[in-house]
């Protein structure tokens, strides 16, 4: 069997005295679309942020594509990585945020070009061509010279997806990508994500969109109070939840 894209073993994370993750284990295979659901405060966003080391785990092991994230193993000991090594690891992991976090002083095109230009030192013409293709792919060919403030929430989130794709990541993390959107704009973002899944991108999606999880997800994880309560095929978990807490949560959101 191939190396899992993401392998998390016994992840613990605390902020001060509150333990946000209390031993989380899961595996995501290449090409898999894993959806993570759960009530707010269940630790699902924190889990996602640990995967690209925006949060540092307190214990456990977290590997992406077989490599420990944020640490090096040498001589039977863990060594913290330098900032530049962490930056290098993050290039292969795209992230899309709930609140888009587009660079407001740059146009849509410049937002997408930024990382290839600065991080990969691509030639300007090549970066521009790639950015135009990506914006076209997310349906924003006519919005390239607009600043984020001139775009709707759905358009901004699609630019953010194109920006993450510009580094050709092997894994995409979505942190509630549609939660800050007006209801009528959710569809356009989910369409882009559906397209990505169809193209074989490995994706971990923290979401409240149960319809999307059921239709696009290969697996579904239900988290509560820092633990994975239930995991399995989305249809299975959503239709026949085994655990009481899953049932209680689903009865509120479905």
């Amino acid at each position: 069997m191939s190396t899992p894209m993401v392998e998390a073993i016994g992840i613990h994370k605390r902020f001060g005295s509150t333990e946000v993750l209390r031993g989380v284990d899961f595996v995501v295979q290449p090409g898999e679309v894993a959806c993570v659901v759960g009530p707010s405060g269940s630790g699902k966003s924190t889990m996602l942020r640990c995967i690209n080391h925006l949060e540092r785990i307190d214990s456990g092991r977290l590997r992406v594509d077989g490599h420990l994230i944020g640490y090096r193993e040498a001589g039977g000991k863990l060594h913290e990585m330098r900032e530049s090594e962490i930056a290098k690891q993050r290039r292969d992991i795209g992230m899309v945020f709930q609140r888009f976090n587009l660079f407001p002083h740059k146009t849509a095109l410049e937002n997408v070009m930024e990382a290839p230009l600065v991080v990969r030192r691509s030639a300007r013409a090549a970066a521009r061509k790639q950015a135009e293709e990506l914006l076209d792919r997310v349906g924003l060919a006519d919005r390239m010279t607009n600043y984020p403030a001139q775009l709707s929430g759905g358009q901004q989130q699609r630019v953010a997806i194109a920006r993450a794709l510009a580094m050709s990541p092997r894994l995409m993390l979505f942190d509630e990508p549609t939660s800050a959107l007006d209801p009528e704009l959710v569809g356009e973002v989910l369409d882009v994500m559906r397209g990505l899944a169809r193209d074989g991108m490995t994706m971990i999606v923290v979401t409240h969109e149960m319809g999307f999880a059921r239709e696009v997800g290969d697996s579904l994880v239900f988290m509560d109070e820092g633990r994975i309560v239930e995991a399995g095929a989305p249809r299975e978990v959503l239709s026949n939840p085994r655990e009481e807490r899953t049932k209680a949560f689903l009865s509120k959101v479905l």
Partner: protein, 301 residues
């Protein structure tokens, strides 16, 4: 209910034809201001003590222009030292490295906490403390050494005093600007694989500029006038120049008007420049520099 007479043709999509609200208070204010302005102009023109001919004589005279060029030179160089130093100190202050952060805090504490005049005098009299300055290995041999008084002449002492003091104030302004940028920006840049330095230079600082520029404009305008403190170490600029002239010919008021006119002119140029810079860094954000409706010097966008 009967339709009122204004209800005719409401669907014609013609612009509303309504009587605007009257502002009688504004007309009263205009009348009062007009009388005051007339009184002011009258007294300025008729009171011979203003001696406008003297103002005219000295406005472009060599000593005044000399002082003016010194004021400009000191302001520009001191502000460059202050801004560059301020950015450096702010970045150090916010660094996760506790040593860098503490050094910056110490610098800011010392340079904001002691009077500028004392700092100017200190740099000027540095030779009393260290007659020679040398480059070499600490506690070891020296490669070259200089006479302190030759290395730090009056002009250099002015720049050190004004620039290093300004850096401490600019550091706090820049720090405020950097901290005003949403943390999500840093996270997004980090998630793309950008380093801390790249994130600061390409993402955070350009956005922080919007917050940094208005107080920096203040600092620059303030510096324009603070340069007059260099008189304590025997250097001269605009205000010192006119003081030297009126201490001889006793035309105090006309010469102060000369200085004030130049300061106002420079401040006006700076304000216009600030507006341009603010719009440059306001890209992507709708709000530009606000202007009062009466004194709008920029075209409406």
């Amino acid at each position: 209910m009967t339709a009122s007479s204004t209800d005719r043709d409401v669907r014609s999509s013609e612009p509303l034809d309504a009587v605007p609200v009257r502002h009688p208070g504004r007309w009263v204010a205009v009348a009062v201001l007009a009388v005051l302005a007339a009184m002011f102009v009258h007294t300025v023109l008729t009171n011979d003590n203003f001696r406008w001919n003297v103002v005219g004589t000295y406005l472009f005279s060599a000593p005044v222009l000399n002082g003016l060029s010194n004021t400009l030179l000191l302001t520009v160089i001191s502000m460059v030292i202050g801004i560059v130093g301020g950015i450096l100190l702010a970045v150090m202050r916010l660094s996760p490295n506790p040593i860098l952060s503490s050094v910056a805090a110490l610098y800011i504490w010392v340079f904001r906490g002691t009077p500028l005049i004392a700092q100017l005098l200190f740099w000027n009299f540095l030779s009393a403390l260290y007659p020679r300055l040398a480059l070499g290995i600490p506690f070891g041999p020296e490669f070259i050494s200089f006479d302190t008084n030759l290395l730090i002449n009056q002009f250099a002492a002015c720049l050190l005093g004004l620039g290093l003091n300004e850096a401490a104030y600019m550091a706090e302004i820049v720090r405020g600007g950097i901290q005003s940028v949403d943390h999500g920006q840093t996270e997004a840049a980090g998630a793309l694989g950008m380093s801390r330095a790249q994130t600061l230079r390409r993402i955070v600082l350009p956005q922080a500029m919007r917050v940094i520029i208005p107080p920096t404009g203040n600092e620059t305008i303030s510096m324009l006038k603070t340069t007059s403190l260099v008189v304590v170490i025997g250097y001269f600029e605009l205000l010192t120049s006119v003081q030297r002239i009126y201490s001889v010919n006793f035309q105090t008021i006309p010469l102060l008007i000369v200085a004030a006119a130049w300061y106002l002119a420079l401040t006006s140029v700076l304000s216009v420049g600030q507006g341009f810079v603010e719009r440059r860094f306001g890209r992507g954000v709708q709000s530009g520099p606000p202007g009062p409706t009466l004194l709008r010097w920029r075209p409406a966008t």
